[in-house]
């Protein structure tokens, strides 16, 4: 579902969560369910290409409380409820993003200047953690490819790397070296340019809460959640594949690609099934988190068992 709104409407006025929760029930009650499916099937191909990652009608949105209260953001603690408790020390404005490397428009950008050209869209994505839980989240953001196009990477660029803030003033817990801060993640250029890959600034129609990675984070819905760096302060365009933080921490457990793959278990636990937050029983995990028809071709010919 693609929703474009003029940027002058404050996000807080847009939609109440209750409306999100109720909308499918509302449609079903009105007997319009079949009509909606038919209508979306009738959307012309060109528009569909702009609106990928449409949620499965069976995917019920994970409640706001869970999306913003159950987080992995180790800079603010390792328990799931730590980030919501501790992330108030993060100051999401003013915010600078350094763009560097193999790119024509390398500079230190003020975040608001960087975001100005883009219209925020809602994207409902499945979000699958490497720990075998998942959510369905209505993100707000814009395709990373649009940002990359504006920054004009050189022809040498093969990878793009994202660095998370690591400031002991705002994140006192990083004094404990649980991970090798700052948190670094990266994508191959074709993954970064894929229309599903989203720069996120909001969720549920509101500004992104600190614990979710304010003010700017990445979401790659066919990969395990840890690929999506939070509170991004640097974007670097590179010729060579950089190493990502979890891969440095445990190379046999976390790879560079980290595509959701039920056929390749984490060395310690199964990835075959997952618990959708809010459900008691597990459900099957889908290859590429259910986005295989859109992204599997990126990896044709690659051994996904070796490139986990």
């Amino acid at each position: 579902m693609l929703i474009r709104r003029p940027p002058d409407i404050p996000t807080r006025e847009i939609t109440e969560e209750s409306a999100y929760f109720g909308r499918r029930e509302f449609l079903r009650a009105m007997g319009y369910g079949a009509g909606v499916v038919a209508a979306s099937a009738a959307v012309p191909g060109a528009l569909m290409a702009c609106a990928p990652g449409q949620a499965d009608p069976d995917d019920k949105l994970t409640p706001w409380e869970a999306v913003t209260g159950y987080n992995n953001y180790y800079e603010f603690g390792t328990a799931k409820d730590d980030p919501a408790k501790n992330a108030h020390t993060l100051k999401p404005r003013p915010w600078k993003v350094k763009v560097e490397g193999e790119v024509a428009r390398a500079a230190d950008y003020d975040l608001d200047d960087l975001l100005k050209p883009f219209t925020m869209q809602e994207r409902v994505y499945r979000h699958r953690c490497v720990e075998a839980w998942s959510m369905v989240v209505p993100w707000f953001g814009f395709p990373l490819k649009d940002l990359i196009a504006r920054l004009e990477p050189t022809s040498k660029t093969k990878f793009v790397e994202f660095t998370t803030l690591a400031d002991t003033g705002q994140m006192p817990l990083i004094r404990r070296p649980i991970l090798d801060w700052p948190y670094v993640e990266a994508l191959r250029m074709d993954e970064a340019m894929h229309p599903l890959t989203l720069m996120v600034t909001g969720v549920y129609g509101k500004t992104l809460p600190n614990q979710n990675g304010a003010p700017l984070r990445l979401i790659i819905p066919w990969k395990y959640g840890f690929k999506g760096g939070k509170s991004i302060v640097r974007i670097r365009f590179l010729e060579r594949q950089p190493r990502n933080t979890w891969n440095i921490a445990a190379p046999n457990e976390y790879g560079f690609y980290a595509n959701v793959n039920p056929a390749v278990d984490h060395p310690r636990w199964s990835q075959k099934r997952e618990r959708r937050i809010g459900e008691l029983f597990r459900r099957e995990t889908l290859p590429f988190n259910g986005y295989a028809d859109q992204v599997a071709s990126l990896y044709s010919g690659m051994d996904l068992r070796a490139n986990f």
Binding site: T78, K80, L179, A249, R268, W269, L280, R282
Partner: protein
Amino acid sequence: MLLLALIPALKLARGVAIGYLGIDPVETLAITTGTAAITLLLCSLAVTPLRRLTGWNELIRFRRLLGLMAFFYAVLHVSTYVVFDQEGSLSLIAADVYEHPWVLFGMMAFLMLIPLALTSTKGWIRRLGGKRWNRLHRLVYPAAIFAVLHFLLAVKLDVRKPVLYIVVLAVLLGTRVVWARRRAATQAPAARQRPAPLTAAEPGN
């Protein structure tokens, strides 16, 4: 002591009653019961060393209670796994145990605790005889080792808590090794003359 050991269960019962057990209730159940089981198991293993150090023999009265409470939480923990994670499917469980050492370790620990819980009564001590009962109940040592390894493999990166449990267990088991060696060194000649004075009512391990 019983009340203390029941606190985690009461917390869970309260959560069930008010219909809120955290954002992922299954995770809450699994972590609460697992942590309680391992903690109580280590407490039960602390009884003998504490008793020897302090000479406070009354402590022995708590050992069975602690062991049984550990087993009670282990049953809840395994039930959570069987019901919610594997939907009661034996084939799914078998595959999971076979493929993942942390599940195997947890399962080993649990299986070892079953005969100990079953033979925890005075009747069984009498039936087996103190010596055989003691030998059987030495299973608690490998059970505890498997349990803490299970805990270690279950966490992602932040291993402070399981490492703390491993250190505590190492100390508890280490004191037994040291004491056993010392006893062997000083009592070896005497042991030939008279058997170790163990009574059926108060077996030690």
